[in-house]
């Protein structure tokens, strides 16, 4: 949470200085450790069972890109929810938002080839892809703002406010086309979900978007007033208020940003799925929160960094790909996944405490 580099500021008294590594270091090690483990397991496997093809886990272009791609959407959401959690709140509605916004965006991105396009009568087909994208982002921001308003104006706990939104918005997603999926989207729109090739290396556009979003938000949280206030509110709302921060207004901003990012995630999902389904995004909110917490964000508020969340997200991706890599049986995957999530946090925390002691 210390946002200036340890080096600035001369030691005030004769006391020996503390060497501070950024907290990401420890979680980064967890990530590497995990990759190593998969690498080794794969190696053993290939030696024991004959009919398994021997190949490296990470040294594989497609896998590298899928590892990130399959969590890019979760990651975009996680970047937003990290900010919410830093304020001491939580956002359970992001998954539902993905569902609803994806439906709306998709409905505006349909190709005229679709004889049952939602807005066929209005002739809203083959539209410029900007329209569904902007619509999606706007809708997301709007829904996020609703969260913010509820929390700021009515003072109800974010958990309950966003839980309500989670239920209602999922309802909206189903209601929008009465459960019908929205398919056959124009490829000028689905283009955003595809990969492009860089020297034989497939780079998925959602990944690029994820990285850009992460960088922007990292800067915003670390170097701007917006960021400072976000941390302050999470660390001690009363003190923040007495320090002249208008908590209500700021929370609305933060939740709107989170909503905007959910909207972006939704657009990306629709572009990838090449369709909108009311069921899209179920459970994404928990994955996103998990990514943030694995990355060192504290649900107590006041602590957390986007860089950590980024790594946390990658960890989730590695786990998923690792399972298919090792052909872990479908039934065991969930069991193990839960254990890994917990383990990651435990190891990370353990290391941090140790470092604190020994430094």
């Amino acid at each position: 949470m210390s946002t200036t580099t340890p080096e600035t500021g001369k030691s005030l008294t004769g006391i020996t200085k503390v060497r501070r590594m950024p907290p990401e270091v420890s979680i980064l090690l967890v990530l590497f450790g995990m990759i190593m483990v998969f690498e080794m397991l794969g190696w053993f496997k290939c030696h024991w069972d004959p009919n398994s093809l021997c190949e490296s886990f990470v040294a594989n272009k497609q896998r590298l890109s899928i590892i990130v791609l399959q969590v890019a959407v979760t990651g975009i959401i996680a970047v937003g929810v990290t900010q919410v959690i830093i304020t001491g709140g939580v956002d359970l509605s992001s998954g539902s938002m993905v569902g609803f916004v994806a439906m709306v965006a998709a409905s505006l991105a349909q190709a005229s080839t679709n004889t049952r396009a939602v807005f066929l009568e209005q002739g809203w087909v083959d539209l410029n892809p900007i329209i569904p994208i902007v619509a999606g982002l706007a809708l997301g921001a709007l829904l996020g703002l609703c969260n913010g308003l509820l929390i700021a104006k009515t003072k109800i706990p974010p958990f309950i406010a966003t839980l309500g939104m989670m239920v209602s918005v999922r309802g909206l997603a189903k209601w929008y086309t009465l459960g019908q999926p929205v398919a056959l989207l124009h490829e000028r729109f689905t283009w955003f979900g595809q990969s492009f090739d860089v020297g034989g290396f497939p780079v998925p556009r959602p990944v690029i978007v994820f990285i850009i979003v992460a960088i922007i938000c990292h800067i915003a949280l670390t170097y701007t007033r917006y960021g400072k206030f976000t941390y302050a509110i999470g660390a001690n709302p009363q003190a923040a208020r007495v320090s002249g921060i208008n908590i209500g207004n700021h929370l609305m901003k933060v939740y709107a940003v989170a909503g905007l990012l959910s909207g972006l995630a939704a657009v990306m999902t629709a572009a990838r799925a090449q369709s909108g389904q009311p069921g899209l995004g179920v459970g994404y909110e928990l994955d996103a929160i998990a990514a943030a917490v694995i990355g060192g964000t504290s649900l107590a508020g006041g602590v957390g960094r986007i860089s950590g969340t980024f790594i946390g997200t990658i960890i989730l991706g590695v786990v998923m790909s690792g399972f298919t890599f090792l052909k872990v049986g479908a039934y065991y995957q969930e069991i193990v996944k839960g254990i890994i999530i917990v383990a990651a946090v435990v190891i990370d925390q353990h290391r941090q405490n140790k470092r604190r002691k020994t430094s």
Binding site: Q62, R116, Q180, L184, A273, Q277, M320, T324, A330
Partner: protein, 284 residues
């Protein structure tokens, strides 16, 4: 009163069938969705009974858990009609019970047998399962294994079998992971069309020629048929959702009027291939 297992693409069509048929008979319907939760569905049925509806139509979340609902309805003397999925207590539905359904076992079997035919009964295949907590997924996967066990298809070998939870995006990711793992299947068998299409997207993204791999799904959704037209999807299975919905309503109304009707109406699955796809275009 109508209680649907969930609101996936297929059941949505079925629900539409119910609504249109009811509207035709100008019989008001109250539709609830149980989100694949057995006890929620049971509660919904009990709520219907409390609301004294004329008849209850149930699209069972789990065909092995229909007994309590049947009992509740019978006790209240309200007709109960099971639609789409064949309840296990089918012979104990009583005078005021009926079902309009198809046998879930057929769908997976039809799909796999056709694929087996297309690949000449041998080669590596990948299986994409739906949500493992969901009966249809488990049943369809079981069918796949049974078909492959038959002599005709012995040559086929399942190299991996994973769940994508009915979700096209998850399916896409899973397929990409498989591609990354270097799998070169002759066929991909999915528990439903959504996942099949996801898999197709992934394979196309990886630059595969869809002629070289057989992909099968179930449901024959609009999107699926379009994909089939494009030559990407090879097999899907059609089930007359709308027809079932309508049939259920007719049966319910009849029972409510106290008329005597045949309590078992079977509506078979139908295989859809590029050859006969034309017949189904308009149906869903």
């Amino acid at each position: 009163g109508v209680s649907m297992a969930n609101s996936d693409t297929f059941l949505t069509v079925l629900r539409k069938g119910v609504e249109t048929a009811a509207a035709a008979a100008n019989q008001p319907v109250q539709i609830e969705i149980a989100d694949d939760d057995v006890s929620k569905q049971l509660s919904q049925v009990q709520n219907f009974i409390a609301a004294k509806v004329d008849a209850i139509i149930v699209n069972a979340v789990d065909t092995s858990a229909t007994a309590p609902m049947t009992k509740a309805a019978n006790d209240a003397g309200i007709p109960i009609v099971y639609v789409n999925r064949r309840p296990d207590d089918v012979d104990a539905l009583g005078p005021k019970g009926a079902f309009v359904a198809s046998d879930e076992k057929d769908s997976g079997t039809l799909e796999t047998m056709e694929i087996c035919k297309l690949v000449g009964g041998k080669g590596d295949i990948l299986v994409m399962e739906g949500d493992l907590a969901n009966q249809a997924a488990v049943q369809r996967t079981k069918d796949i294994h049974e078909v492959i066990a038959t002599d005709a298809c012995k040559g086929m070998r399942i190299i991996d079998e994973q769940t994508a939870g009915w979700d096209p995006v998850k399916a896409q990711d899973l397929m990409t992971n498989w591609i990354a793992a270097g799998h070169k299947p002759v066929a991909v068998i999915a528990n439903n069309d959504n996942m099949a299409i996801g898999a197709i997207n992934a394979m196309k993204a990886a630059g595969w020629d869809m002629k070289t791999v057989v992909v099968g799904g179930i449901d024959a959704t609009q999107e699926a048929l379009a994909t089939m037209k494009a030559g990407d999807l090879d097999v899907t299975v059609f089930q007359d959702a709308a027809g079932q919905g309508g049939g259920a309503v007719k049966a319910a109304i009849a029972l409510a009027k106290g008329e005597k009707i045949d309590a078992k109406i079977m509506i078979p699955f139908q295989l859809v291939t590029p050859a006969n796809m034309g017949d189904f275009m308009a149906k869903n």
